[in-house]
Symmetry: D2
Subunit: 133 residues, 4 copies
């Protein structure tokens, strides 16, 4: 089914497909990203925000079967500071993520995006592809 | 495809199935649980550990499409304190989780378990069921 | 200066007093509490909120030199759910903490409280006492 | 007592000194740093580790009254990967921090360092200075 050795495969039910695994790994990494980095203090500085996006992306890319992670923090929505205490933190309202998981030949394009209508930082799957086609 | 209204369905690709969604939601919640609660200071007290298991379970059960969460912290592996600084924290080595996600009619039985062989707190899918059968 | 052995005392500058230590430990534990538990999913259920307050309190009480921790989550401010995605999480806006640190004979009464005027979950020291008086 | 306006001063007991405040803020930021960033996935790459150190430092420097933060992740102790699952995460064992807090004229030199003897990532105060001397 795949051309690499996954040492954990035996811990998964035998009916679990490549597609299932790619989706599962995408979900895990989105949940991990969110709960690891939300709450992080931020400053309204273009260079700092760019570097933070890059570090979060590279950190989550180390997780198994994650092919790429793109992170965007909405600079314009970072609050300007009224006083010394009023710094910003990373929240679901200003975070946008695109994450591609790959297991075997299956690619899952997923992401996080704040949906006003739901008042919720939704984790979603945009599409699923067979990379051999 | 399902007998409830999912207000987020339109944000998912049209080829995404109930099975895909149930797996995705299981992954998200396992990743969230791990990165939210690992690092939490623990004391070696049976009642406290029982209550902590219950709270983590109930907290994660509030997430969308999570049917049940069972959390087990390995009491015997909690280090005994050598000095005032040497308290325990929740780590992947002492945490075991069983989580059932349900989307439409599909049930995903998933979990977290530390695998010595991999030196890793593995998130896995045990089985996937159609609840109507 | 004190009637217990603190195995870490040698790592502190010789001019550091009991009062300094008690304040430092209070600060550490308030910072830890906030960044460990903020982001935790909550449900609007009296019993669950009571148990969550108790677990956070007991967890942080295991840290060195923490005498007591009282946690209050503002039940009335927990948002009611508009849809399946719209669950609440613990934020600085609904969290109130009172924490007493004790080092040697010095007691530090500190806390966390959201201050509207500052738009900030302020960590503060209410008073410092010599417990022998 | 100081030549800036601290809008939160009225929330602190009147007996709280500049020294007390500087120590308290150091403690808060060390506790916050630890519980925010521990658990973060890391890869064994010099450039990535350097950038991660810088981002953590800049993030925590945004907190009130923090003058400087130096972060060192022990590159040599980062585990080399045995398999695809065996990535590293930030732990108290590989993290070293030096943080200077300044309130009014008082400077507090503090830090985090893993102490083998205590089996503990100790938060300590090295020295306290009056910056006007």
């Amino acid at each position: 089914m795949q051309n690499f050795i996954d040492p954990a495969m035996k811990y998964f039910g035998s009916e679990i497909t490549e597609r299932d695994r790619a989706i599962f790994e995408a979900g895990i990494s989105l949940g991990a990203l969110f709960h690891q980095f939300v709450g992080m203090p931020l400053k309204k500085d273009k260079k700092f925000i760019e570097n933070t996006q890059k570090i979060i992306s590279e950190s989550i890319s180390t997780q198994p079967f994650i092919k790429s992670v793109e992170v965007k923090i909405d600079f314009d929505k970072l609050e300007s500071h009224q006083n010394i205490y009023d710094y910003s933190t990373l929240t679901g309202k200003i975070l946008e993520v695109k994450l591609i998981a790959k297991y075997g030949k299956t690619l899952v394009y997923s992401g996080i995006k704040f949906i006003e209508e739901l008042n919720y930082p939704l984790m979603y799957i945009e599409k699923i592809e067979d990379s051999t086609i």
